[in-house]
Amino acid sequence: MAHDYQGPMIRVEDLVTYYGDRRILNHVSLEMQAGETMVILGGSGTGKSTLLRHIILLERPSSGHIYIKGHDICHMPEERFNLLRPKIGMLFQSAALFNSMTIEENVALPLRELTQLEDSTIRIMTRIKLDLVGLSGFEAYMPSQLSGGMRKRAGLARALAMDPEILLFDEPSAGLDPITAAGIDTLILKLKLAFRMTIVVVTHELASAYMIADRLTVMDRGEIIAVGTPEEIRNSPHPRVVQFLNRVPEGEPEDAQAYLRSLTQSSS
């Protein structure tokens, strides 16, 4: 891996993905620079989480490419991508902690399995990560004993365990009260300043997006409809962007004929 790599950290090129007959991603292209915080905005079902899952190869596209530090991961054998994986941390929507393990064991798991470090070293590193997210003292707790916000923090500590260069967040504030959600946002900002990581956040929370983003991407029906700084997005003339930012509900179907046809046609 070239250490003096200068290009974009993540480059998504013409990505197309189908689930069955349904097209989830429609020719998506996007670039993220090293150290940049990119927020992907969009309503539910617009494909933004799917895009995130592609970046960590939990899904493979029907066509198109994703380059991480210049390496095409979509056409890379699993074993080779596994070498890249520790450089990418992901916080899942539900935090995805292993419920049969304590918080400490959860955070230590990648270190135990993927490194040859001594147990004592792992213990210290785990403490540092938990301290970083404000969870020191909770090492021996089980995930079920923690609140939603604390679980997210623990999930974040686990994502940070391998000192990743890229950090992915899937709806970090989903299911949290505004105060806790703001706490998570502050944590993301802190990580961004402290470690200069490339951060990708998928969300539909506007306030949170404006707070943390260097650049914003707005997705709609599997397509990217706007990319730019928060200021540019706020001034975007694109009708769907305006609708999203101003929280205008979906209108009635305009084409009455098509609507009638859709009602009378059988579902098969």
Binding site: I56, L58, N82, A96, P110
Partner: protein, 265 residues
């Protein structure tokens, strides 16, 4: 007419997809169980041991008790059916011994294990799938088959034969209980006639079956768990169908095995 054809086609495709899924899972599990250890990536022994306790040790009371009852039932039915032929106690011992070791022992064990452990495999993996834990494992670069399926495979491969032997013994003792009470036979007499009735072949064919049943139960349970979609309801469905499908496949495999052993004797 086309509706019927479409239905048949869709059903066949579904069956194909299921079979392919099972095949892929068993190929991966086979690789991580038997090939990867030689490349320095050993299975997770600690969690395999934990699984052995869950599926094996904890099933001892229920497998033992059910097999004891089945042994009594077989002896009663056998004595009833053979009454008119003036059959000697030897034949009851033969009937119970041979049916337990060749057939009922492995089958009963498989049914109990499918109900207890196959369903819990599906529920456990299904819940992990729904709560994104399996994604998290994969995202870390940890192979979910190696971490979650292989320990269960190993546990069943070790425990199914053990439980089957237990079931054989309990069933034969159940048959003996009937003989002692009903036919006034001594325990040693009964054991001697059982020993004379049984061949080594009876026992090992049963154990071979139990290994195959164990593979089927793990495979189906884990596959159902991995293919869960849509929350708690999906987990419930997967749990149910893991039991139904694995019992069906166990009995189907049993037919083939029994026929094979019958015609090769």
């Amino acid at each position: 007419m086309t509706g019927v054809l479409a239905l048949i086609g869709r059903g066949t495709l579904g069956l194909f997809r299921y079979a392919t899924g099972l095949y892929q899972l068993s190929r991966d599990a086979g690789y991580w169980t038997f090939v990867a250890p030689f490349k320095g990536r050993s299975p997770k022994w600690k969690s395999a041991l934990h699984q052995m306790v869950l599926v094996g040790v904890n099933s001892i009371p229920i497998v033992g008790l059910i097999s004891l009852f089945i042994g009594i039932i077989l002896a009663l039915q056998g004595a009833y059916a053979m009454r008119n032929f003036g059959a000697s106690p030897y034949y009851v011992a033969l009937l119970v011994g041979v049916s337990m070791t060749r057939e009922i022992g492995p089958l009963m064990t498989a049914i109990v294990v499918a109900g207890r452990s196959g369903s819990s495999f599906a529920a456990e993996l299904g819940t992990m799938k729904v709560s994104e834990e399996i994604d998290a494992l994969e995202a870390m670069g940890l192979n979910s088959v190696r971490y979650l399926v292989v320990p269960k495979y190993l546990a069943l491969l070790v425990m199914m034969p053990c439980l089957t032997i237990l079931s054989d013994v309990a069933g034969i003792l159940g048959g003996g209980l009937f003989q002692i009470v009903q036919l006034d036979q001594s325990l040693s007499m009964f054991l001697i006639s059982t020993r004379d009735a049984l061949e080594m072949r009876d026992i090992w064919t049963g154990l071979v079956k139990s290994l195959v049943f164990g593979l089927i139960i793990t495979k189906v349970g884990c596959y159902e768990g991995f293919s869960v979609r849509g929350g708690a309801e999906g987990v419930g469905k997967a749990t149910t169908s893991s039991v139904v499908v694995s019992i069906f496949l166990v009995i189907f495999a049993d037919v083939i095995f029994t026929a094979f052993f019958y015609y090769t004797t």
